[in-house]
Symmetry: C2
Subunit: 305 residues, 2 copies
Amino acid sequence: MIDRLIKGIKEKENPTVVGLDPTYAMMPEYLVKEMIEKHGKTPKAVAQMFLEFNKQIIDSTYDLIPAVKPQIAMYENYGLAGIETYIKTVEYAKSKGLVVIGDIKRGDIASTAAAYSSHIGITDIEGEKYDIWGADSVTLNPYMGYDAIEPFIDNCNNLDKGMFVLVKTSNPHGGQIQDLIVGKDNEKVYEKVAKLVADWGEEAMGELGYSKIGAVVGATYPEEAAQIRKLMPNTYFLVPGYGAQGADAEKLQGCFNKDGLGAIVNSSRGIIASYKSSTEFSEKEFAKASRAAVIAMKEDLQRIL
Amino acid sequence: MIDRLIKGIKEKENPTVVGLDPTYAMMPEYLVKEMIEKHGKTPKAVAQMFLEFNKQIIDSTYDLIPAVKPQIAMYENYGLAGIETYIKTVEYAKSKGLVVIGDIKRGDIASTAAAYSSHIGITDIEGEKYDIWGADSVTLNPYMGYDAIEPFIDNCNNLDKGMFVLVKTSNPHGGQIQDLIVGKDNEKVYEKVAKLVADWGEEAMGELGYSKIGAVVGATYPEEAAQIRKLMPNTYFLVPGYGAQGADAEKLQGCFNKDGLGAIVNSSRGIIASYKSSTEFSEKEFAKASRAAVIAMKEDLQRIL
């Protein structure tokens, strides 16, 4: 997956990931009206809005980007119907040649972690094999240590899959645990985690110099990002926080290696809800607006690459 | 939820939680045969096995226990059909008066955390309200700090819900992050997290002296558990690791307060798969075996209470 991702980034000259994190408030009114008329005020109606919304955004941007990142929480919010849309979104994005990063942030151990690894794996029922979730890669939480990561590694190596483990997140209170200073080493927790993730990554190296085990490193802390970059030169970063969360391209410089590789940058609302703050595009043109937002972001990122 | 839980513990004189974490390997052969005949070698078949299995176990144990804890990963492993069984299991357990702890270990921020909070909340679609997931309480991961917890607190206070935040987990590599020693204070990360969770807990106190925000504290580290108990006297512990993971009742003593309250103890395999190692019960009597295992665990725990 990491090699496919890097090829996509090079081909499209763009490390932008579109975050497919739809919310009800984000939906264009015409779509709300149409789906509520069809399905009532139900989770099914919202799930159908999300699916149509996602498909139009994928159609409008897939030639420009290497990957999408659907945030599963947005779909879980609408139960089974929502999760069905998540799965169909993953399938649809893959049919357009995109790498799909399932933003699931799961973190558990042993047989539980093995069960979660179905997100990037095959579920076998008496010899019948099912690719139930279909993602190319997932995000994972490291709080429980290696036991939460290990069950996913075989799938990385045998099924061309990948993962991004939380290291330093972009949110205001992320430092409550991640920035604690550890013992005599005068290192912070996130630096310790960065080193662990880099170590784990050696078990799943790709062919282009990067591991299939990547790291989530927030864009809102540029100095820390640059320092983490040095700790884990062969680890790809998934960088949230661009745009709506406040980081601009300059702040991202340290996330990249000198060859311009090493990081993908996610934007969700800033792309998919861009029509909301646009004077140029109507609500029916939300997908066109998202294309314009991707192009603007690509240009912004190219300034620093 | 925490007050209801405590009342249930007192009524049943039992702090045992049955972990409803079914796996395919755990299923009795007659149930495998029946469901595969009906539904083929499909996720639907496995999901139907799990539902029947769970219902029989709930029927056979609900009068003895205050709560069940379904582990959502086991159901996610079988996609939509599996998740439907998770939801039906939650509903069924609630219909028997049990408190249901959804072991989801989610951890994300802002609008994403708000979406996940539907697990203990109400999803509103243009005024129509849906209790989609139905759990009374969930488990959460603290790595991203308060931002991952805060969106759940309103539901705790307004909808009589609760949560248990990971503090010290029972798995072998749990210490990789949790046991790091922090700065000059000579405290470990999990102690810092314990204090944070206790602080957050003050925002959601129940009426019986305990907070609706509990903590997950593994049973495999008895000294640490006793020490964490002192750090957070008003926090209920959810204790995994009893039985199959190697802890016996003596190791749990420190998890409880002097009044015998303060902790619930989960056992999954040790109860629901007990028929597998039984000479007394046939596979068709798996539910009877689980009842016997609950009674044995209750007696074991009463020795220390």
